[in-house]
């Protein structure tokens, strides 16, 4: 370890502080508000090295000078950042005695998703007598990964066990100065995931946060760092199709992907945060910064199915720095009732012969607003770069909105940039046609919507795709008008 004497002392100090704290940690919650003391408190509670505290504090200073962006096509009451508690001791979920105590609506949805009873219990916080298979699965899973030298752990663990890697890469793709929410996240992030795939290793299984041991619920300010070393490959799944309820209204995560030369990262997300009720009350604000950087001949592919959140602000992006690198973005975003989504991607072409593909499928229902916002930027040196963008919108009612905001900046005359966009309304004629053939309206909607989103759903890993299909079906129940 390359700790200096000073860092070691600092660490020991922190430790004793933490230990001293532990006795009443169950009830301990940081007071509302955000200031340097709170950040020091978070850092010390997590027993962090000095450099990380310094990073947090710097981010906080930057954040204070920034203002919340308001260019997105969404309307919401801005959160009061001084009225949030930024640290709470890892909370134990209230244990329920049986499924009878769980919100029946939640159970109904999980049943439709085909989630097993055991899993239902786990997801809804019911005490399970016998810890189900997944733990043993996860253990053998971890062993196997370990043999290959793959590191897959929580962010906090990585800070302690792999500080060199974290220090080297953290903030290199999404700097703390990047935007308001990433600065906030950098200052106060709670935990998240860390993943490192060594040179030449092809990760033999899909990495999913679901299997990560020690996961104590999803934090409000998550941070993910994924590094694929040269010529490696990894497919990473994030999220869950089961509805996620959370008392935290604001979520501001940061995800950084680093694909070194000839590496490939496939990052799939299914997001189903609580969208608020049918009247538009409540619901999660999801303000996420996701970005990857590509080395020579490497590839990053983002696939997302977004059905949740009251307000979504999210642009998984690729910086195509290395020559011949490839960036892809496949997205299905569903909004219903009063949901608002402003989502898309940025493809920044820097290297020569770089290629990017954007397929975005928006589905708006109810009174929701669904926007695609994307930037394709071809730098001066990005000779022979190519982009293809396709942005489709499907409207389910007369009261919803679909919007497309494509930005194209091209500084190299040898580049090819293509953009296609369509808007269609789910047709009464289409529905009647299906119904005449004996397919009920609900089934017909699901058939039509899944057909519309097929190009994207096909990019998801198999078992995820099946769940995502069902999720679309549920999200749009009774939504044609």
């Amino acid at each position: 370890m390359s700790y200096t004497e000073k860092e070691l002392k600092e660490e020991l100090d922190n430790k004793s502080y933490e230990f001293g704290f532990v006795t009443d940690i169950e009830s301990e919650k940081a007071p509302n508000g955000l200031n340097e003391d709170i950040i020091k408190l978070i850092s010390s509670k997590k027993n962090e090295p000095q450099w990380l505290l310094a990073y947090r504090l710097e981010a906080f200073r930057v954040w204070q000078k920034m203002s919340e962006p308001n260019w997105a096509h969404v309307k919401y009451t801005k959160p009061d950042f001084q009225n949030i508690s930024y640290y709470a001791a890892p909370k134990k979920k209230k244990e329920l005695q049986s499924l009878d105590e769980v919100d029946p609506e939640l159970l109904r949805t999980m049943e439709k998703l085909g989630i097993s009873i055991e899993e239902q219990k786990k997801l809804s916080g019911v005490a399970v007598d016998f810890v189900m298979d997944s733990v043993s699965v996860a253990t053998s899973f971890k062993e196997k990964l370990g043999e290959l030298g793959i590191i897959f752990c929580s962010f906090s663990e990585a800070v302690h066990n792999h500080p060199d890697l974290v220090k080297k890469y953290m903030g290199t793709v999404v700097p703390h100065t990047d935007n308001y929410y990433s600065a906030l996240n950098s200052a106060v992030f709670s935990d998240g995931s860390f993943c490192y795939i060594p040179k030449g290793v092809r990760c033999p299984m899909e990495l999913s946060t679901y299997f990560r041991i020690n996961e104590s619920g999803t934090g409000q300010f998550e941070r993910t760092l994924l590094i694929a070393d040269e010529s490696s490959y990894v497919s990473y799944l994030e999220g869950c199709t089961a509805p996620q309820r959370d008392e935290n209204q604001l979520h501001a995560a940061v995800v950084e992907l680093i694909a070194l030369d000839k590496a490939e990262i496939k990052y799939s997300t299914v997001q189903n945060w609580y969208p608020g009720d049918a009247k538009g009350k409540g619901g999660v604000y999801n303000f996420v910064t996701k970005r990857g950087i590509c080395g020579y001949r490497s590839k990053i592919s983002w696939t997302q199915v977004e059905t949740g959140s009251a307000v979504t602000w999210k642009y998984p992006s690729c910086i195509l720095k290395g020559d011949y690198s490839i960036g892809e973005f496949y997205s299905v975003a569903v909004t219903n009732n009063f949901q608002q989504a402003d989502t898309g991607t940025k493809m920044i072409h820097i290297g020569k012969n770089t290629k990017s593909t954007i397929i975005s499928k928006g589905i708006s229902a109810g009174k929701s607003q669904n926007s695609y916002r994307g930037l394709v930027k071809i730098g001066k040196g990005a000779k022979n770069s190519r982009n293809f963008s396709q942005c489709d919108s499907l409207l389910m009612t007369d009261q919803c909105g679909a919007h497309t905001f494509p930005y194209i900046e091209c500084e190299n005359p040898t580049a090819t940039v293509e953009h296609e966009a369509t808007t269609s309304k789910i047709g009464e004629e289409q529905l009647f046609y299906c119904m005449q053939r004996g397919i009920s309206e609900e089934k017909a909607i699901s058939l039509i919507v899944n057909g519309y989103a097929k190009e994207v759903l096909n990019k998801l890993p198999m078992e995820f795709a099946v769940e995502a299909q069902k999720l679309l079906e549920i999200s749009l129940e009774g939504s044609v008008g």
Binding site: M435, Q436, R437, S440, L447
Partner: protein
């Protein structure tokens, strides 16, 4: 003695407050082919939509008795399950949904209604192979999205293929001949003829006598102003071809 399949009595319906059908009567027995002809705007397509249960049309009076059951309030899918089939004049496109998947869903939904197990993949594919040959449907079309990028002729042929797969009791062909060249017309007609049996019936809605050379009707009806004003055998179609409709539009009919 032939068995009654459908009986339409004094049927009146409207769309957007406009009366279209004004007391239509029609009886069809199993094993029969009926042709419905008539000038533009006489209500031919409305009749097919109403029979299939399109809720844009409001049935204001009269009854539709299908296989002994009143169906004027029944949902389109339930009518379909009971054996009603409409070959659309303008078949719609459903991007991203393969023909095969579409039909399998349709058959499974019907099986579910009757409490029957879903059809095994092997049997289903065998059925697809048989039926598509029957109507000369190009193999590739089966895996393409429903009607997407199909030519006019391919769409119509696909309708007849679906009809073959669903094996309905009553098939209504709504201007299936429109937009078809003579070769395509023959293929489509040939398919329909092969599907004919003593257990089912066909209603052919058309403007032209031409189709009736290939699908020979037992009865021809002339629809005008939302009513059947004349019925006859196939010779009536030939007469209409020669004389047009005007000679029928007498004062008492209007």
């Amino acid at each position: 003695m032939s068995e009654l399949l459908i009986e339409i009595k004094d049927l009146e319906c409207r769309i957007d407050n406009q009366k279209i059908l004004k007391g239509l009567n029609l009886k069809i027995n199993k094993g029969e082919v009926h042709a419905i002809m008539g000038p533009n705007g006489s209500g031919k397509s409305t009749l097919s939509s109403v029979l299939a249960g399109n809720d844009n049309y409001e049935v204001t009076s009269g009854s539709i008795n299908f296989l002994g059951e009143e169906i004027s309030e029944m949902s389109p899918e339930e009518r379909s399950w009971k054996g009603m089939f409409l070959a659309f004049q303008y078949p719609v496109e459903i991007p991203g949904v393969s023909n095969i998947n579409f039909l399998r869903t349709a058959l499974n939904e019907r099986n579910k209604y009757y409490g029957v197990d879903s059809i095994p993949a092997k049997d289903f594919l065998k059925m697809v192979a048989e039926k598509s040959e029957l109507v000369g449907l190009n193999n590739k079309l089966k895996n393409r999205s429903v009607n997407e990028g199909f030519s006019g002729g391919e769409k119509k042929r696909n309708e007849i293929f679906q009809m073959a797969m669903l094996d309905p009791k009553l098939s209504i062909l709504d201007e299936t001949d429109s937009g078809l060249d003579i070769d395509a017309l023959k293929i489509v007609a040939n398919g329909v003829n092969k599907l004919k049996s003593s257990e089912n019936a066909t209603v052919v809605i058309t403007h032209y006598q031409r189709l009736l050379d290939y699908i020979v009707p037992d009865f021809v009806h002339v629809l005008h102003e939302g009513k059947i004003i004349k019925s006859g055998d196939k010779s009536l179609a030939l007469e209409l071809e020669k004389k047009g409709y005007d000679w029928l539009k007498t004062d008492e009919n209007i």
